[in-house]
Symmetry: C2
Subunit: 472 residues, 2 copies
């Protein structure tokens, strides 16, 4: 079953203590199965270190014995980046026990936490101190901050606050040699040498294991306003976005796009979701404005934007939430699209980005491709309009055969990704490369870029022990 | 004079054409002398390429012949990062001819420019299109964007908009092999592989030559308000900053600190500068608020902050500029501090950062050191309070001997930097490492960090031809 000797496995167990290990006699499916069911890996051992020193001991042993290590956070990724392969020789290191908030520094607007802390716990901790930690994801109740950093997670707040990359002041990383890189600084400015931090952010566990970090905190907005606007086209949505960005008096903290099909899908499949607007619109924009002043100010700002949008005939109709419950109800419609779509059978998914102003062109051209290739398939293209990031998901035809539909996955992926590459876009806007898109990376990067990435991997991890088979 | 053969030099000349070359028979002092007069280098050749391909040809030849190359932008740096050494074997590549704005993309909020474009030209171009390019530096009339990127430049806008690093969407770089890395993307989200871009930003020409970039543009604020507040201590200044950050209704776009000594120095030495407040205060804060709404809104927001500051006895007195001219006059006081200080004789300088909330503690402890070591020296500690970045400059005693004073430079540098290191700060917050702080880097970084930086250098530049003797 495994090529690793009993003696070696015992040595790994000794790094963390037998109480903090799962073995073949335990149910390991949580650690070995990928989210969407695409990969089913095997592992002889899941190690759960409780400290940076224990992680360093594990990696040192792995380096000496050339044993492959798969770091794992909350296991909520979409590209198979955190699962071991099928051979059963890769050891999983789960960061779940390193879940301490080490320090909250209110005056310094910084928080030091370990890699295994759940994202939502960080949001709540910040809020309790009157601050904002702005990263917001569908999986925030179970994803871990170490995984968020390793994958440079995105989500709905990127438009105002940036990706995960923009939330990190300092990092502690165990390198593939087992040495500890202590960069837990809380400086807002530091121009001393090469930027090591950003090399690890987004490297998906292939250059080391992130064990702790210092996060940036922001002032908590005093008010928020949320609306859903119905529109006739992505072109109008883009103009509404530009208007909100240029004329918005508050901060535009979300600008999410979805087609009517997606709205109908959540109404059909998710209990409690209700149509916010009368009549049908081809497209919808969920817009959120935050204000440092007051609820009323956020509300006024959003009303002004939508009023102008109505006057300029960009917006057909709009509903502004009047209570916190109504805000949550609008957000729930947007957030439950992937879950609702799951009820509609097989799905071929893409996480792509194009330059923001080319989103309508992308939707038109991609739509023409799908119409030509699979005329009955249903296009659930939703996502973060303000970032140019579209989750271009295609559901199987109603009453069609799931397996027949999914057999076209590669072919459809190739066509959509070719279009994205031609449009100077990204074939993975926020989910990363992992195992799923590794071959794609070679197609989308120039030989010079790809070679440099491989050189960096070899320099940092000459034995190839860190998350092998992922990214490069 | 030079160890490079005539034949080799001719080959380099052929890369750009004889019209675009300066040689030993020309006055090369602009290219070989460092700003502050600390270094006086020599070079046999200044090459001025006009295209990325010409840069690539130069570097390819340099790689084949192991010839050292010193990339040079506007030559406004403070750490000797862009000057050749004294031996006369390093060839200067000046980017001044690559000064085209290639594309302004209004809808996409992006601008593609070549490395040699002057920062101010970019600011003006953005403004003419109704946008903001927020990087703001004292040397903006002569520094080049390529140098700004290579050094990850800072300045007064960092508090709101981030460093240079945060303004870059894409980069084109000629690698030390002569190969061109084309990363001129204008995507706001792209999670495909390692973050190569940030590796080059701040690497000070030691990992390649930046030839072009795509810059992020922002909405141009509709209004700005500027005030100078007099305060009794850095503690009060810090509290005023926190108040502005948390309660500010507009955007806090500058929060600059200076002691009375610095104010008096600019009044004494700079023609046209006038005291903005009656009476004396130990410290001053220049605060700027920007608003997406209107001039009036920015003004009201700033007034509210200062009003609260007065009520809470943080602020002794304040002057709010009522006209654009008055705003410029307040800014001129702050911006002319270094120039004014130059009139006061020899100066021992530091560009340091500490965690923002520890700035008062740093000033107290550093002040005690200087008082102990050189009781008559004058401390001009000014800078970017909101970033924790202090230019801790010390002028010689009045009527003292300049050379005697400057003989203590190393000793004083060591004491101040030791304090900064103990306080978990940065010994180069925004000026970089260059040649001046290279030895210091080894003292401030852990062996693990330093080794990794050296490994990266060796991986990218195995022949050590790119800006040798700088950074690592």
């Amino acid at each position: 079953m495994t090529g690793l000797s009993k003696k070696l496995l015992d040595q790994f167990v000794a790094c963390v203590g037998a109480d903090h290990v799962l073995t073949g006699s335990d149910d390991l499916s949580h650690y070995t199965n990928e989210n969407r069911g695409i990969y089913h890996g095997k592992t002889p051992l899941v190690l759960k270190p409780g400290s940076t020193q224990e992680v360093a001991a594990i990696i040192k042993l792995a380096a000496e014995t050339k044993t492959a290590i798969v770091p794992q956070g909350g296991h909520t990724g979409h590209v198979g980046g955190a699962v071991p392969d099928e051979k059963g020789n890769q050891i999983v290191v789960s960061m779940e026990r390193m879940n301490r908030i080490r320090k909250v520094d209110i005056d310094g607007n910084a928080m030091m936490v370990e890699a295994g802390v759940i994202l939502e716990a960080i949001q709540i901790e910040a809020e309790e101190h009157g601050k904002l930690f702005p990263l917001t994801l569908a999986s925030q109740g179970s994803c871990q901050i170490g995984g968020n950093i390793a994958t440079n997670a995105g989500g709905t707040g990127v438009i105002a606050y940036g990706n995960m990359r923009d939330q990190v002041l300092g990092l502690e990383v165990v390198l593939p040699s087992g040495k500890i890189l202590d960069g837990l600084r809380s400086l807002h400015k530091d121009n001393t040498g090469y930027d090591l931090k950003n090399l690890f952010i987004g490297s998906e566990g292939t250059l080391g294991i992130i064990t702790a970090c210092v996060l940036k905190l922001r002032p908590k907005p005093r008010g928020k306003a949320v609306a859903l606007a119905g529109l006739s086209s992505p072109e109008h949505a883009l103009k509404l976005y530009a208007l909100a960005r240029e004329r918005g008096e508050g901060m535009l903290t979300a600008c999410e796009l979805m087609p009517d099909l997606a709205l109908q899908c959540t109404l059909r499949n998710i209990e409690g979701n209700r149509a916010p607007l009368e009549g049908n619109h081809a497209w919808y924009v969920l817009m959120e404005i935050s204000s440092n002043r007051s609820e009323e100010d956020a509300q006024n700002s959003l009303e002004n934007i939508l009023q102008e949008g109505l006057q300029e005939k960009l917006v057909g109709d709009a509903a502004i939430a009047q209570t916190l419950e109504q805000q949550q109800a609008l957000w729930r419609i947007r957030e439950t699209v992937p879950l609702a779509q799951k009820q509609e059978g097989g799905s071929i998914k893409h996480d792509v980005a194009v330059p923001v102003h080319r989103v309508p062109e992308f939707l038109k051209r991609a739509g023409a491709i799908i119409k030509r290739e699979m005329p009955d398939a249903r296009i659930y293209s939703f996502g973060h309009l303000g970032d140019g990031n579209i989750h271009y998901n295609i559901s199987q035809p109603i009453d069609g055969d799931k397996e027949v539909f999914l057999a076209h996955r590669q072919e459809i992926n190739d066509l959509i990704h070719d279009l994205v590459i031609e449009m100077e876009g990204s074939v993975s806007a926020e989910h990363g490369i992992g195992r799923l898109k590794r071959d794609l990376l070679a197609r989308t990067k120039s030989p010079v870029e790809l070679q440099l990435m491989k050189q960096l991997k070899t320099t940092l991890d000459p034995n190839g022990i860190m998350n092998p088979g992922k990214v490069v």
